[in-house]
Amino acid sequence: MSTTTTTPEPALGGAQGAVTPGPSVAGARPPRRGRRLIGIDSMGVGERILRYVLLVFVLFISIGPFLWQFSTSIKGSGEDIYTRTPSFVPAEPTFQNYVEVAQAIPVFGYIANSLVVAAIDVGGNVLFATLAGFAIARLRFRGRKVVLGLFLATLVLPGEVTIVSQFLTIRDLGLADTLLGVALPGMIAALNVLLMYNAFRQVPEEIDQAAVMDGANAWQRLVHIALPAVRGTIAVVAIFSFIGAWDDFLWPLIVLTTPDNFTLTIGLQYLSGTFGNDQRLVAAGTMIAFIPIAIVFGCLQRYFFKGLEEGGVKG
């Protein structure tokens, strides 16, 4: 029995076409490897079983802790959670702990705060990283190389190195202890500009050239020609921005001081600091922070993995 090989999905409209950037041989793109029969993929039953056994083993390691935490979060106060023979399935499942979290900390306020920060960062990155990435990849202007070099140079600079003086900048702008102060620096990330640059660079140049001949301006070329080809990478930028904003801990910890302004991660840390000896409560709190992002990711994972295969992170 032999199955067909599967090269990575050929993404959207030849996005993987041009291997070399810049003015390469016009029109002559290397032929894409098609589907063909290859002996090596003919997998015996034994190998199949072995692979699934290993997959389930890794699955157990990667999501086991989340399931255990969820199990703890729905165990009632009558059930002993400190036992030599812990039961994975709660005796009497209850959502009482979730109710108690909401009474202990203003968890919905924290969720709202995190959503505000995430919305600003996702919107900013999708819009402005796309514009900048397109301009650097597709528009010719004096200083283009310098601009590209500046964005590349920031990659060797870990964010933590500048976090102190960044706080001073935010403070001087009068934004200390505000959600805008938390969101602002991450609103346009250099990495996202480079991801979009990389994606736009792979859009076949001939189509773009034809549009220029037809008198299309930069905006029209972006909206009608380039954008449809880089939707996958935009999805990746959006998802990365959302995760980054939702999960961030160090920066909001430095910027925020008033409990009402806390984002969810800071609120959680506060919860565990105050109610640390009630593991059921902490477990419910972590699940409140985790489940929304797991659902968002679960729904968008197809676009995410497809976008990554488009070549977003290969550069």
Binding site: T5, P8, G39, I40, D41, M43, R51, L54, L55, V58, S62, P65, W68, Q69, Y82, T83, R84, F128, L131, A132, F134, A135, L139, R140, F141, V147, F151, V156, P158, V161, T162, I163, V164, S165, T169, L184, M187, A190, V193, D208, N217, L250, L253, I254, T265, L268, Q269, S272, G273, V282, T286, F290, I293, A294, F297, Q301, F305, L308, E309, G311
Partner: protein, 292 residues
Amino acid sequence: MRATRSVTPWLFVAPALVWLLVFSLWPSLNTLRLAFTNASPLGGATEFVGLQNFETLLGDPQVWLALLNSVIYMAVCLPLLTLLPLLIATLVEKKLPGIAFFRTAFYTPVIASAVVVGLIWTWILDDRGIVNEMAQALQVVQGPLPFLTDRWLLLFSAISLTVWKGLGYYMIIYLAALGNVGRDLHEAAAIDGAGAVRRFWSVTVPGVRGTMTLIAILVCVSALRVFSELFILTNGTGGPGGQVQSLVMLIQQYARGFTGNIGYASALSLLLFAVTLVPMIALARINSKADR
């Protein structure tokens, strides 16, 4: 492409460029300046103090402990996080039924906040948590192992958390690279009778060597930047006697509050930057030598 003199390209890059200048370039230069001052988080008069912050830094035992912790962190993470994710990537590369589910599930620890996974591990490694209770039930140990209170165990607990959270992240990067490894090579090796293990070392690993260097650099740098894992597992204390801290934890402490010292925090930031450059340069050199 025609060279335009129009302002349109500049309008397109302007917002991103402004952000780069305000939130990357300016803070970098400012950090360099602040490191030679006694600036305070609360504002007020700032004076230049010369090399004083750096003299304090060299004599600060906390800094040397943080550097030691970082080196250990890096030394353990580097081999584990360059190899294990590659093995997992080869496992999920084949399009078996249900593979999309496994890929997504393996990526789950990456999307969760470090705070969330830190709290989950705090419960798992608790004196009365599942690991200790099971180990005692199986009579592997007599009393609970102090995962969260012993200095070295704490460090290794944090490392295991970092490794666990990193598996999916690097798996995805390897997965993209594996798509480019020649099928023909695998085929030829298989025909020559090379087993799966042999093919892994002689075809897969050389095929993704460039990616492996990149990942090695990423692993080292992120090990040096570690913060949330240590902060959450030690509940913000830095472990017994503050011995399990990282440079970033020290920076965070000095960045805020009445006892804060922006000048000193900036000197620590420069040290952090210098330290992260070491693995970048070293690994890039090793790679370029191997190319020759």
